[in-house]
Symmetry: C3
């Protein structure tokens, strides 16, 4: 039944033999470069404490909504895959690890052709040393093999950090986080990787968030100027950003519903802020305030130098019953159409050419790649093309991205690869896939005599190594 | 002048020799599988009575709006191509069959590169045995050859049904249809194919349809509970669906302007229903009621098990003068942008995870493939990706579809191929094209070492044979 | 450092050897056909006076917003690249030509993979005879080589017109232009090229244009019927169109924000016209009037035979500070999403099947290619698919265009290539790129046995030579 998992050295490279041979050369050029990961969701405490990873299911299945969602679509109840964490869930309802793993092995064939399937297969082989595909007929053998590996002393986060050749890893953090893990890591002379915090203030800017009012009170109390009004709120945000900068942060990340930006007068903003705190904000008030705060975040980035990244266009928690049972990030955030051209204009009017301002725009709506993002990034010195994100972080989607943006914006206006993952062990597989696809795209341009092979070798090094350093000011 | 029509055994397969060789093997695996056609527009009476097909023009040109539209675009008046059937048309104005065929032969080169051209060429060769392309210089020779074939005894619908290796053929039927043809076919022990009705209630749900009020009266009178109100209307729909189920139907099909759904209270729905029957519904009332009825259709599907298929996003009868002369389906239905994420949320809140509910979503707006449909189908157990439909039922569009959805949703979440045709003789050509494209896509994944060849052989059988059986509960 | 610029004879052709060999044959078939350029922005006076071209920077960098925009994005102030021409600019602030050229040479690697890079490289080699790539380490050697070439007697516009094998070149002209340059060229027996004017009335139709009121006064005074009202305005437009027709014009071009069309009654249109002249038009009034004038332009095209071309969907002058300093066309027009299906319906209701009416629809929103434009052009005899335009006039984008439209509309419904350029010396490079891409697309269809090689040879000649003659009535 089971099949060898041995991956082919030419995986993801183009089929045409001539193009493949060019791609191999390009890949070789970057295969051993260090991993730079300027945006992701690994917990810094895991690195600080060098905690052993839990069992295979809790490491690879339950927390990965890319994985649980497709198993769920096949008809498996999420109760069998992950703890219930939502308002109405039973906090003790944690399924048995071998039960979860058995469901995963049954579902494994569903992942053929998916990006998750590629990352998992690569991990199974190169990180966990499996010889065969997970097999529904014998789930225990893969479970046991991975479990054994997880207990090895060399299989701790810090050792893997080094094995994976990670140079920089950015985390995503609450504005009031003490950043003590980051401080401890930086202060430890025995660890050489850079683990950087990222300022992520969504839940302090978006009035619609259930905790917004509480968050604002805590923020003002912790970092304000003594006042309690809009001015204190702005000051507190500035102060916390400064704290992040002082602790090594290079960027501030913003998950917003739409990319809309708006410049309100201080008095209008102040009025909306007060209305919102009294619990009387209308839907329009909330949208205006969030759009205004994006403008404010850009202003602060111009002043404090944090790179600004925007991730819009996802309908979060689309299926309410699932949200109620399992909370956020349970696999049903669904993208929708967005418009950047009009939406970011207010922000770009004032900051689009500001010195050293970097604004990285992400999308899950592919239509904006050629229509809006490449034209914007091809004019504004501040605007950079975010790497294909989330559902688009996949081989064909990456090729469509390069094809859509390069003819307008060239190669110099992209962010470099962003893995955006909380799955630490998948980081090398994700960067490997990206490098193979960059090699594939460039190899086609070489084969079609659009770019010389010599220049392509320079370009791929810049894409993999130069761009993220430059764009994220590393 | 004329050119051999002999089709190449490798038609539609990828050019790269290595990939082509893999594709050949995959195609061979499925080439002889029976045809399963769970949605289309063939008239069951044609199978029941085993009626001989009419002349070449009336079979292949006049009723096929894919064909007449492109000839019309080249400047040929539709009077020369099809009967006038509209309000202002002359019902006797049927052009002479040889005149129509002559126009077709002149226009034949326009079809190069089109899906229709591919289907026609395949039919000419494999169904009608032509040796040469239709030739404007000698239209009679192809006309005569096809005419002769049409008179052969073996060239009757039932014989072709068998020759074409059709196992299941679904028709599309009015909710008040007696389904007598389906009953006769099912009762005939000499015929072994399955011909299934499909419940298509658009003109009973959409207030904007000119016959809506009449249809509602007839529906309530024929299948209601004795009452005349909204409750009777709902009951009558449920009763007719039950009648369809009892006569073998597996799905209910819905052609709607937008994919919007809405849950109204019974009292609100009842009020809108009464307003509409009094002829006073506003545009907003009509839209709300149709959206609500989509919700109701989902509820009924959950209860009676009919698979629900939705075809939105077409501006029907875009050119009014043509509609007035030739009626609906005269070649000027034009797609527009749609949004599924927000639109189907009300329906999916309540039925998205309902047991055995199957919802197949179609689109002619390709942008929703990667952005909305793959993410929806990759989470909701009920949601399946409808095959590329209508203008997108074409080789390159199918490849774009697979590329757009697979990395998020894998291969298990698609409907399988849907021919959606009223052109009976084109059915094998359409399924053949689809199988070749599936083989081409999978062959690329194999060649790029994303999927093993062994697994690809399993996948293509599931795509061609397993998916339609599973999704349409056959 | 510097690299040979020698271009490969197979540039832009597909990598697969079999497909490339077919593409070579197809390209050979059309490589020597004359250039037909039915829409562009070369100044007729340049041809009339046969003016020598200025220095390399003023010819190739400063006026080309494709080029300056990407250099600007890399952080170079536009003051170093082009004269300030805007309201607040210093009209004497013209940067030194060698300074501009030095910045260009530094930025040259940014153009790898872009369409502009391709056109420039081709010009450098075939028009200017450079042996090596521009080199930031030695900008003077390329500057001097091009300068020397510019002073050669054979390097004048009329000589290049002949060398480039241009048969027809259309300019873009103000409705009140005397067309004296066109008359002089036509009257000169020593010059054999056709230089045709194009009627471009945007600034006379769009109330939002700052000069609209002045333009209307001048128009009515110059070409009206003695009155001063809406009727006189319409008459004046008709008269000027007639004047253009009499001077060889074949088309009227319309740059509009959206493709919306609207049929107003004469009295409503007249009222809006008066309101607008009194300076009191609302945003809605302005939009309605422009939409109505598109309807009127179509009516006039039906009457006077001018081909109607529409270019919507660009947010002009997105960055106001740059507009204020450098005026329009300074690199920050950014596309946005458009909808054609609903928007052009009013126009097509009345003129969609009008005899000899030609309506060419352009887009920078690729999503409408398969969704709206191919279905419209595949039914309406008047509608033609505009070639991929502006940011989409690039190799991969052209391939996406052909893939998106061909399966629905075939090859007969496209406009033929449109270079749309003010950069005279780039014309052969642009047409060369287009021909190579058409050959590449057709070669794939041949290799996949969708079209015979014989038929593909006919098709490419029709695409390159037949289509523009037919669509633009040349």
């Amino acid at each position: 039944m089971s099949q060898s998992i041995a991956s082919h050295p030419d995986r993801l490279l183009p089929a045409d033999p001539g193009t493949r041979s060019i791609a191999r050369g390009l890949l070789e050029r970057v295969q051993d470069l260090p991993i730079i990961s300027p945006h992701g969701h690994v917990d810094a405490a895991v690195i600080e404490h060098n905690t052993a990873f839990p069992d295979p299911a809790a490491l690879l299945v339950s927390p990965d909504h890319y994985v649980t969602r497709l198993i769920h679509a096949s008809g498996v109840d999420q109760d069998l895959l992950r703890p219930q964490t939502g308002a109405h869930g039973d906090p003790n309802a944690v399924p048995d690890a071998r039960t979860v793993w058995r469901e995963f092995c049954k579902a494994w064939p569903l992942f053929e052709g998916t990006a998750s399937g590629y990352w998992l297969r690569t991990q199974f082989q190169s990180v966990f040393g499996l010889q065969e595909e997970p097999d529904a007929g014998d789930p225990d053998s893969s479970y046991d093999a991975i479990s054994a590996r997880l207990q090895e002393p060399g299989f701790r986060p810090r050792e893997l950090f080094k094995d994976f050749n990670i140079e920089v890893l950015a985390t995503t953090d609450d504005p009031l986080d003490t950043l003590s893990s980051h401080q401890a890591i930086a202060a430890d002379p025995s660890f050489h990787g850079r683990v950087l915090p990222t300022f992520r203030p969504d839940q302090y800017l978006n009035i619609a968030h259930p905790q917004w009012r509480d968050n604002v009170e805590r923020l003002i109390a912790a970092a304000g100027d003594g006042g309690t009004d809009y001015g204190a709120y702005i000051t507190a945000l500035e102060n916390r950003r400064r704290y992040f900068v002082d602790n090594g942060a290079v960027s501030a990340d913003h998950g917003v519903r739409t990319p809309r930006t708006l410049k309100l007068s201080d008095s209008d903003a102040s009025r909306l802020f007060d209305v919102a705190r009294s619990g009387k904000a209308t839907a329009q008030d909330r949208e205006d305030f969030e759009a205004h705060m994006m403008y404010q975040m850009a202003r602060m980035s111009v002043e404090d130098g944090l790179v600004m990244t925007i991730h819009p266009g996802s309908y979060r928690n689309h299926h309410e019953p699932t949200f109620n049972a399992y909370g956020a990030d349970s696999g049903h955030d669904i993208p929708f159409a967005i418009d950047y051209t009009e939406a970011v204009r207010p922000l770009l009017q004032d900051f689009g050419t500001a010195k050293d301002f970097h604004l990285v725009l992400f999308t899950m709506d592919e239509t904006v790649f050629s229509r809006e993002l490449a034209p914007l990034a091809g004019f504004y010195p501040s605007v950079f093309l975010g790497a294909p994100w989330w559902f688009l972080d996949a081989p064909d989607a990456m090729l469509r991205f390069r094809s859509a943006v390069t003819e307008t914006a060239g190669f110099s206006r992209s962010s470099g690869f962003i893995d955006d993952t909380r799955a630490f062990c998948s980081i090398p597989a994700r960067h490997d896939a990206s490098r193979r696809i960059e090699a594939s795209f460039l190899a086609r341009l070489v084969a079609e005599h659009r770019v010389t092979e010599e220049r392509a070798h320079e370009l791929i090094v810049d894409i993999v190594d130069g761009s993220p350093r430059r764009v994220f000011k590393l």
